[in-house]
């Protein structure tokens, strides 16, 4: 049985991990495997595991556990290995400060305010959902406008339904999953509206969450106005023009009591800013080396706090690496420093990590700007690989092997994703 309150919180740790979601759990396991002895995970919720607990649908773990699991199963299995490895987990605790000496301050109902020293710090704070304010929907400010992930927690954990007749804005996977979830709980989902001309979620979710229940998906259409004084009474939706501006002459009203927003995630980096580490304006997360180390030595970062992932399995993989390097930092083992910068080129929005070294293999994660079929990923003039397709909503993984770089003596490599005939 997963239980647990940490009765004895110590003052000195080898590695402190901020956030006990998939990133933090994997980092703690990685640090232990690399030889760090005293490891602490700090999580603000009543249990570690993060957002996985509320993602009750299947589709997790195919890469990491080699079988298809639901979110809670993935969380519980991972948490069990964290506990097996003797990692301290303090829950209901919030880290409100961190400094360049890797000293953190936390506040918790059980332990009060505590100052804790670490030899290496791992940032795994995850992301927040973008809210109404992020896209400035005009109208009144009634109750009943909430993010899809919050509604998911209400429904799947707390046992509250957010409303009786729901409109969903944004076709990201969380929005699609919630359309099905609410329908199965007896809520009427009027439709899903997406400002872009293409859906953002997986085709599997379009089919199994919308088509299965005859929920319409309106592309190139957005919510242009919210009406209602105390509670949402209706929304005005409108098709958009090429510049994504609503065409009000073609708008129509929909009676509803709830508007769910599934409009993207933002890495949560308040603590990173307090620390003064370098952030990448494109990802909104820390700039990281191939060791997942930030611009501040001994401070590592991983998971959605660095860039938004679409599969938890990749979060686990990236974060295990961050934890391993944090553990090696503590035990005094240092690998050669990075000597090549990755430069996002044509149709590449960003690359993580931001730098690599030529002495070992790396997995580089990147996101493209435009969908392409039958294309080519090009790494400077040292390597290229054919891809059947790329989509902005799907992260691209590239393995860079030392042999690609044997003849390379520069300090920067441009990464392009281009059509095959150019």
């Amino acid at each position: 049985m997963i239980t647990g309150k940490l009765s004895h919180l110590e003052q000195h740790y080898d590695v402190v991990v901020v956030g006990g979601g998939p990133a933090g759990m994997a980092a703690a396991v990685g640090a232990r495997d690399a030889g760090a002895e005293k490891i602490l995970i700090v999580d603000r919720e009543k249990e570690a595991g993060g957002i996985l607990w509320q993602c009750i649908h299947p589709g997790f773990g195919l890469h990491h556990f080699k079988e298809e699991l639901t979110g809670p199963e993935y969380a519980q299995r991972y948490l069990a290995s964290v506990m097996d490895k003797g990692v301290d987990v303090v829950t209901g605790a919030f880290v409100f400060d961190a400094d360049r000496d890797r000293r953190i301050q936390l506040t918790s109902g059980q332990h009060g305010i505590r100052v804790i020293d670490s030899k290496a710090l791992v940032l795994g704070m995850g992301a927040r959902e973008r809210t109404r304010g992020a896209i400035r929907i005009p109208g009144t400010r009634p109750a009943g406008v909430l993010t899809a992930g919050l509604a998911q927690k209400f429904v799947n954990m707390m046992g509250f339904l957010p409303g009786k007749r729901v409109v969903i804005l944004g076709s990201g996977d969380i929005g699609l999953i919630m359309a099905r979830r609410l329908t199965l709980e007896g809520v009427e989902v009027v439709g899903v509206f997406e400002i872009m001309p293409h859906a953002n979620g997986l085709n599997r979710n379009i089919v199994q969450c919308l088509h299965d229940f005859d929920i319409p998906l309106h592309l190139s259409t957005t919510v242009a106005h919210i009406h209602g004084r105390d509670r949402v009474e209706k929304v005005t939706v409108a098709p958009v023009d090429a510049a994504l501006r609503p065409i009000m002459e073609k708008s129509w009203d929909i009676d509803c009591d709830t508007l769910l927003l599934s409009i993207g995630l933002l890495p949560e980096n308040e603590l990173s800013r307090q620390l003064g580490i370098s952030l990448d304006p494109v990802t909104s997360g820390p700039v990281v080396s191939s060791r997942m180390e930030t611009s501040m030595p001994g401070v590592f970062a991983c998971g959605n706090v660095v860039h938004i992932h679409d599969l938890v399995d990749f979060v686990s993989q990236e974060s295990y690496l961050a934890g391993t390097n944090a553990g090696e930092f503590v035990t005094g083992k240092r690998r050669p420093a990075d000597n090549v910068r990755l430069v996002p080129g044509e149709n590449v929005r960003y690359c993580v990590p931001h730098t690599i070294s030529t002495d070992r293999e790396h997995t580089v994660y990147m996101r493209v700007r435009q969908p392409l079929e039958k294309c080519l990923i090009r790494l400077g003039d040292v390597y290229q690989k054919k891809l059947l397709y790329v989509f902005p909503a799907e992260m691209v993984n590239l393995t860079i092997r030392p042999r690609f770089l044997e003849q390379f003596h520069g300090d920067a490599l441009r990464v392009d994703v281009v059509p095959r005939d150019t």
């Binding site: 049985m1 809670p72 979830r181 199965l184």
Partner: protein
């Protein structure tokens, strides 16, 4: 041929999302699948046409637990047509904490051969 029906499916195998077209005869036997890019699409369309199945994941009320709901799943995929009925039936179930991951909540739900199984531990509150 004129008696054959055409049904359309969106392939879920990858982000390409091929538009699949199944041609079936008057006995609803698949004559041909068109529109796929890889073999996954062909197999998916046949399965969806003949016997569409879904994993069901939902939640069940639990008293005295850390949270008010415990997540559950079907141990196997069940016929698509049964999904809503299963969820409706589970609304009348109330469990008492503690619950363990893997606990069987309902055995052989609606004769599908699949069990309803808890997908996490739910310790008692406190």
């Amino acid at each position: 041929m004129p008696d054959n029906t055409l049904t359309h499916y969106l392939c879920i195998g990858c982000p390409l999302g091929c538009r699949l077209e199944v041609e079936s005869d008057d006995g609803d036997n698949v004559v041909e699948v068109r529109g796929w890019t890889c073999k996954k699409g062909d197999a998916y369309a046949r399965q969806e046409h003949i016997d569409p199945r879904r994993m069901v994941t939902t939640t069940v009320r639990v008293n005295g637990g850390r949270w008010a709901r415990v997540p559950v799943k079907t141990s196997d995929a069940v016929p698509k047509g049964q999904v809503e009925a299963i969820c409706r039936a589970l609304r009348s179930v109330t469990l008492a904490a503690p619950v363990r991951m893997g606990d069987v909540i309902v055995r052989d739900v609606f004769g599908t051969g699949a069990d309803i199984v808890a997908t996490r531990d739910m310790p008692a509150a406190g």
